[in-house]
């Protein structure tokens, strides 16, 4: 079982009032609040990705992470998105622990002056998370459980 762990990376952005967040957490998060807090008048385009436990016959899933490495990876992926696409703001929150159908799993909010960078940055980040950040899911069904195979098995 992943140990309880929470990491918050803060850096001033815009008017310095609201801070970016890179977090792995056992707590739920509020997508609406994350989106609202990311807004600023420098960011003409905000693209968000919200991943939710989908109802495809499972009863729930347990998420586990190598917390310390996952956090470093998320921070590095954020920096890479900034360098590659010129995005100005990145928030990433990823939950671990037992989740039910409909629960939030992950949210990424990317802000940029223009839309293309925001889309590219956001999709890049979720793709990189799925292929390289040490997080795993075990799905529970009425019949038992199974580890979700990685996309890059």
């Amino acid at each position: 079982m992943a140990t309880k762990w929470q990491y918050i990376l803060q850096s001033p952005v815009g008017d310095g009032r609201v801070h970016e967040m890179i977090r792995i957490t056992r707590e739920d998060f509020d997508p609406a609040q994350l989106l609202d807090e990311a807004r600023s008048k420098e960011l003409g385009a905000l693209v968000s990705f919200l991943g939710v436990v989908r109802d495809d016959g499972i009863e729930g899933m347990d998420l586990e992470a190598y917390d310390e490495v996952a956090e470093e990876d998320l921070a590095r992926i954020k920096d890479e998105a900034i360098a590659r696409f010129g995005v100005l703001r990145v928030d990433i929150v990823h939950r671990v622990g037992m989740l039910a159908v409909g629960d939030n799993i992950v949210m990424i909010v990317v802000g940029a002056p223009h839309r293309k960078a925001a889309f590219q940055g956001c999709e890049f980040i979720i793709d990189r998370i799925k292929e390289s950040v040490p997080i795993w899911k075990k799905e529970y069904t009425a019949d038992g459980s199974r580890w979700v195979p990685g996309e890059h098995d």
Binding site: E64, A65, I129, I135, W147
Partner: protein, 93 residues
Amino acid sequence: MMSVRVRAFARFRELFGDRLEVAVSSPAMIRDVVMALGQVNADGLLELLDGEGRVKNSVIILVNRERITGKGREEHPVADGDEVAIYPPVAGG
């Protein structure tokens, strides 16, 4: 002998536990640490190895949080007190 901290995740955590210490003779390499897991769970060790007894490519290995890759990774040195992590392909997001 020296002591190496091992962390295992997901399916491998179920086989070996999430945190354990293994004793290996010095100097040691990754291969020694992996083989020492056979003392914890001999059947579990077989899941890590391919037909030639090499660690499967799909098994990801980190030493002190740095991923070790390439053909020669099993010969990568491991020092007393190092943290060796093993895990299957990731599936987050």
